[in-house]
């Protein structure tokens, strides 16, 4: 049924229709509305016998999820930013034990400086935690991919993060098609756990493993992710059959075939990009885009096949590996090794900086002229940075940089309005 609702409400409805048995979550912006919505639905008795566990922290949330999933319950949670950092030890444990927990990440920057807005620093900090990480481009996909996530998690016996841009998607009211319960039930059968904590038949989950077998257990984690590379497109195809929509999958090209330049990105920014790139194509530029929907496992082969003939690849991401450049760009370079394409790394949208068609156009124009420096910081004010660097050099006690820069930006903004 078509509804005009907030992204978080859409996710809450989708998760409820997946018939979770335990939800354990701790509120953090911008994910809070999702678990609040689910909490209300559970209280009204709309989510079957689901238990909503109020916990004292994110560490408690993920630890509870581990316990409930190990006991054979379909389990869900959500987090963002510092909340994810706080649960990180348990995040690794969940995947190490092969527990099919589904977690929404309302993508938000990690401080300091403290910042509630969107970028991908949080889920990127868990990119090596052996979870599956799926990115969504809009709120329809957010609904659809959550439904796929439970089935994928349980089929692969791996936990899945559904990453959606905080505020931009979680707080946007848009039109979405909320599926019928009957269709969701058809796609997603009941949870058949591969391992269950049972006092009658005790097992050790998370045994200590020494040097003699650790590498083999880790290889298995890698192998399971590679297996998921096969499952993800299969499930997206089955989903399309039942729901009639193209959601999920490994990656999605948008007019990328045969183009000299291809922009690679993830998440909601593809929407604005499509509009800019259509304009550029109309003016005769050979340029298209490709959205990566499964970040972990990384679809290296599918990416190689899509970009085999590209001359230039511009990787745009809302994440930064401080000290080297883009994180996604590194993965793309590794996947494209040996192919002719020159890969540019562009880092933008950090901490919620608006990514506009105007500033994207400027960057793409530089890109197709091979004028992007390595890495390129999108829409950044070098004046502000230069001023702070001078202060750091010239003063004995220049004070905290974040505060200095804030003061500068305030002055700059004020000067502009006069």
């Amino acid at each position: 049924m078509l509804q005009q609702i907030e992204g978080s409400a859409a996710v809450a409805k989708a998760v409820a229709m997946c018939r979770p048995e335990v939800i354990a979550a701790y509120p953090i912006t911008p994910q809070t509305h999702i678990v609040e919505g689910l909490g209300e639905m559970v209280k009204r008795g709309e989510v079957g016998s689901c238990q909503f566990m109020n916990v004292e922290s994110e560490f408690g949330a993920m630890s509870t999820c581990i316990g409930s999933s190990a006991a054979g319950a379909r389990t869900y949670t959500a987090t963002s930013s510092q909340g994810m950092l706080f649960m990180m030890e348990a995040v690794y444990n969940a995947s190490g034990m092969g527990l099919p927990i589904v977690m929404t990440v309302g993508n938000r920057a990690i401080g300091p400086p403290i910042n509630i807005w969107n970028d991908w620093s949080d889920s990127m900090s868990a990119r090596d935690a052996a979870w599956i990480q799926l990115f969504v481009e809009d709120n329809q996909q957010a609904i659809d991919v959550h439904i796929q996530a439970f089935r994928l998690a349980e089929a692969a016996s791996l936990p899945v993060m559904v990453c959606m841009d905080g505020f931009i998607l979680t707080h946007a009211y848009t039109r979405v098609d909320v599926p019928e319960q009957e269709a969701v039930d058809r796609f997603l059968p009941g949870f058949q756990p591969r391992q269950v904590l049972d006092p009658e038949a005790p097992v050790t989950m998370g045994a200590m493993v020494g040097p003699e077998a650790f590498a083999e257990v880790r290889f298995l984690a890698h192998y399971k992710q590679l297996e998921a590379l096969g499952l993800i497109p299969e499930q997206a195809a089955e989903f399309r059959e039942i729901f009639g929509r193209d959601s999920g999958g490994l990656l999605k090209p948008f007019d990328a075939e045969g183009k000299k330049t291809v922009v690679v990105t993830m998440g909601s920014v593809i929407g604005s990009m499509k509009s800019v790139l259509a304009d550029m194509r109309a003016e005769g530029t050979s340029i298209g885009a490709l959205s990566i929907r499964s970040y972990r496992p990384f679809p290296s082969e599918a990416l190689r096949a899509s970009l085999a003939d590209a001359e230039r690849v511009i990787v745009f991401e809302k994440s930064l590996a401080v000290g080297i450049g883009g994180i996604l760009a590194g993965d793309v370079r590794m996947a494209l090794g040996g192919l002719p394409a020159r890969v540019y790394s562009v880092v933008g949208g950090l901490g919620g900086r608006p990514i506009t068609r105007e500033n994207l156009r400027r960057m793409f124009d530089k890109g197709v002229r091979d004028e992007l420096e390595e890495p390129h910081f999108h829409d950044i004010s070098m004046d502000v940075i230069r001023r702070e660097l001078e202060r750091l050099k010239s003063m004995q006690r220049p004070g905290p940089s974040a505060e200095n820069i804030l003061r500068d930006v305030g002055l700059v903004a004020a000067a502009r309005t006069i």
């Binding site: 707080h171 946007a172 039109r175 929407g271 604005s272 506009t356 309005t417």
Partner: protein, 164 residues
């Protein structure tokens, strides 16, 4: 929600900042016949609703406004008394309106929440959404007494803006 009632696509994005009482806040809406894929902030609005005219002194609220755009201001004063001639003088006739939305909200709803009131006034200014759709949306979002009071407030604002 009113645009959705009319079968259109719409997108509402609040712009969050430090949650302080009295701090300036911005929210954006796009309405289109086609699906909306843009998520950038609206930088050149066709329609501007100013909920608090004291913002004229703090922020350039008219920045990027379309040449044939509409302006709706929540104030009990007349446009002429707001000292914004420079910003609105090039707009077509009947494209600028004021409505005492907070007062109407206090009278009908009993709380200073001018949102639905301004939506009622908006439908008198432009036909981008129809008044009946606003009423439907209010009744979808609220029920009982709260819905009735909001509808009454929107109706009063619609009539007042029409008369202006």
């Amino acid at each position: 929600m009113a645009a959705f009632e009319e079968g259109k696509h719409s997108q509402a994005i609040p712009s969050f900042g430090s949650e302080r009482m009295g701090a300036p806040v911005v929210a954006y809406v796009r309405i289109d016949d086609a699906p909306i894929e843009l998520y950038e902030p609206v930088m050149s609005p066709d329609l501007l609703i100013i909920q608090d005219p004291t913002l004229f002194h703090a922020v350039d609220v008219f920045s990027g406004l379309a040449r044939d755009g509409f302006v709706l201001i929540n104030t009990s004063r007349e446009v002429e008394d707001l000292h914004i001639e420079e910003a609105v003088q090039d707009l077509p006739e009947h494209h600028v309106a004021t409505v005492a939305a907070t007062e109407l909200a206090m009278r009908h709803i009993g709380r200073p929440t001018p949102n639905t009131v301004l939506l009622g006034a908006l439908t008198a200014l432009t036909d981008v959404i129809h008044f009946s759709s606003v009423i439907k949306a209010i009744n979808d979002k609220f029920s009982g007494d709260v819905a009735e009071r909001n509808v009454a407030a929107a109706q009063a604002a619609h009539d007042q803006a029409h008369a202006a």
